[in-house]
């Protein structure tokens, strides 16, 4: 059936007129979004800190005052400048570690590793978990049962134990840590995506989309995913923080990033021997981890608050 083109043209003319006469005077969606973003303190603080850390990680070669791997045993264990000590010097603002390596430079390079692992593990686990969860939620029945079984099997595997096994089997490197984490922490993605897909799937607009003749693939991608995306963002940030903490824990145990690479978890591990007399060796990377994880979580919550469809008014 051909479209009645002449009436369409008429409608277009009429709409031009209507634009002038009765245009709805309200802020554009972009303006509303801007307003919500700048009204959300948590989001601003979280993304501010995160952007700062990302910038530091990206510009590490220019920012770092020293090579993070350069050892100088003559200058070991210099305390940070706020320390009330004659040894404190502006050459090493955060001091040096037990091998005389500049702590600030190691901290700056360590941000690269933490972020890389966080983002990469989050992306891998996000793809696996979202696929499984959406499939289970949308198709239900046997698919759902199978996915539930996989989730349960995954939950019965302790991450650290599996990481230990993998590392002792294939040796360890940054990429192995990323893969191990990515393949192990998708369970929350799957669980959350499954339940939110189930909710959305039964809403009328999905039925309406079917009644408009949309295919299953289109319904999943265009109708369901945008409406579960805000949950996805929250889980993604949580899992990114989770991956960063797990990396720190694995590195602390000696299963993650290998020395002399500067990882924040590894720095805590290396500093633990000096903890009683030089607590800043543990405190500085610990604070950095804390700030990064907090920033990511604040931002995740903020993004959810700002983008949730029901809050758009």
């Amino acid at each position: 059936m051909a479209l009645p083109r002449d009436t369409a043209a008429e409608g277009f003319v009429a709409s031009r007129v209507a634009l002038n006469v009765g245009e709805i005077l309200e802020p554009t969606p972009a303006a509303l979004l801007r307003r919500r973003v700048f009204g959300h303190a948590g989001l601003l603080i979280g993304s501010g800190v995160l952007v700062f850390i990302v910038m530091v990680a990206l510009t590490a070669p220019w920012l770092a005052p020293h090579d993070p791997l350069d050892q100088d045993l003559a200058r070991k264990l210099i305390p940070p400048i706020w320390h009330d000590s004659a040894k404190a010097t502006w050459t090493h603002p955060l001091g040096t570690d037990g091998f005389g390596r500049d702590y600030l430079s190691r901290l700056i390079y360590g941000a690269r590793i933490s972020l890389l692992i966080g983002v990469a593990a989050m992306v891998i686990s996000g793809i696996i978990g979202t696929t499984l969860g959406v499939a289970a939620g949308y198709f239900g029945g046997r698919v759902d049962m199978a996915v539930n079984f996989i989730i349960t099997s995954r939950l019965s595997l302790p991450v650290v134990l599996v990481a230990l096994a993998v590392v002792s089997l294939v040796g360890n490197s940054l990429w192995i840590v990323i893969c191990v984490l990515g393949l192990l922490i998708w369970d929350r993605f799957a669980v959350v995506m499954r339940s939110s897909t189930q909710q959305v799937r039964n809403l009328d607009y999905v039925a309406a989309a079917q009644a408009l003749g949309c295919s299953k693939a289109r319904i999943i991608v265009a109708e369901i995913l945008p409406n579960v995306a805000n949950n996805l963002i929250v889980v993604a940030t949580l899992e990114m923080a989770h991956a960063i903490l797990l990396e720190a824990a694995l590195s602390f145990l000696g299963l993650g990033v290998q020395p002399p690479q500067p990882s924040w978890g590894l720095m805590v591990a290396e500093g633990k021997g000096y903890m009683f007399f030089d607590p800043w060796l543990v405190g500085i990377p610990g604070m950095a981890l804390f700030a990064l994880v907090l920033a990511i979580n604040l931002m995740g919550d903020g993004v959810r608050d700002v983008t949730a469809p029901e809050r758009r008014n």
């Binding site: 409608g11 969606p29 079917q210 409406n227």
Partner: protein
């Protein structure tokens, strides 16, 4: 009048743990071009399932059987999923009960309207947009062009239902199925939406299957009426026939439940039908209304066939003769 939709002996069965549920059985009707058919009956009588069965959008566990099911002469009973999704939204559109949830909150109105057309036609975004604006104006939405940029939550229920109607019209379908389109709306808006539907249906010369339990609505817009009870059709005829001389005791009971302005005295009791709807699980025989019927007799336990009233196209499922039925009707509702 050539028939757009023909349904013959449609049945829906749903296997449950307690046995087979028969929510729709032996439903047959047809809708001509430019004709409005109203499907009335109480909640759970199978109205919505009939509509979903026609669209082939039943829940996965439900089993659909029919003698024939044709749209514009094309068999849609055995059409594949691919062909069905080409037809849905294109040759037949559906309007849902809940306008508050039947638009996707993540997209603008314009986006969703255009999508409905782009899915089925090779047209440019520009043309789709123009048609969306034209149809929004047609369904009585002011400032249509700037509405296109709005999200569903920025519109009221009545406006959203108008948008839904415009969306089903995007491809110029031959048949519109409206499943209680006004139930979720204010009374004042209800009348507007129904009149709008009726007007559009005449203008675009479509078939309209209107599902409702509001008999006042039926009296105003219907050409033909199908009354369903417990999954079966109990009476069907033109609106005038069914309202002027209801034959089936259930139809009569339904009509007695409605107050008539000027006729029903203040304080007078409205009619009520005693008893409850029978369970539709398992093998069912006989008239399904017999346990609530004032005129039930032992013969009602056997299967009851349709019987014609005086007019040939007015049939009802009861053992009583047309004259007996007419005598039972205590009151007439002006159609």
């Amino acid at each position: 009048m050539s028939d757009i939709l023909e349904v013959a002996n449609l049945a829906v069965d749903i296997p449950l743990a307690a046995g087979m549920l028969h929510p729709v059985q032996g439903v047959s009707f047809s809708i001509g071009r430019g004709e409005t058919l109203c499907l009335v009956g109480e909640s759970g009588c199978g109205k919505s399932l009939t509509a979903l069965a026609i669209m082939d959008l039943l829940p996965r566990t439900a089993i659909r059987t029919a003698e024939s099911l044709t749209l514009n002469g094309e068999d849609i009973l055995n059409a594949g999923e691919r062909r069905m999704s080409d037809l849905r939204g294109n040759a037949m559109g559906m309007i849902f009960q809940e306008p508050m949830t039947s638009l996707n909150p993540s997209y603008t109105i314009g986006n969703q309207l255009e999508e409905a057309l782009l899915r089925h036609r090779r047209v440019s975004h520009r043309e789709a947009r123009d048609r969306a604006v034209m149809l929004l104006e047609k369904v009585g939405i002011t400032a249509a062009a700037s509405r296109l940029r709005q999200y569903p939550h920025q519109l009221s229920g009545g406006l959203r239902q108008r948008v839904m109607i415009a969306m089903t019209l995007m491809c110029g379908p031959d048949l519109i199925i409206a499943d209680e389109p006004t139930t979720a709306l204010d009374v004042t808006i209800q009348a507007q939406i129904l009149l709008l539907l009726a007007e559009l249906q005449k203008e675009f010369h479509m078939g309209l299957l209107l599902i409702t339990h509001d008999l006042g609505v039926v009296a105003r817009v219907a050409d033909r009426v199908v009354v369903m009870y417990a999954g079966q059709i109990v009476e069907t005829g033109t609106a005038t026939q069914v309202f002027a001389v209801p034959r089936h005791p259930y139809t009569q009971g339904l009509l007695e439940c409605i107050p008539i302005p000027g006729k029903t005295r203040r304080g007078a009791n409205l009619g009520a039908i005693p008893g409850m709807v029978p369970s539709l699980i398992g093998e069912l025989r006989g008239c399904r209304f017999r346990e609530r019927c004032a005129y039930a007799m032992p013969a009602c336990a056997a299967d009851v066939a349709f019987r014609a009233a005086e007019a040939r196209d007015h049939v009802y499922r009861c053992l009583l003769t047309p004259a007996e039925c007419a005598g039972n009707a205590r009151r007439k509702v002006p159609a």
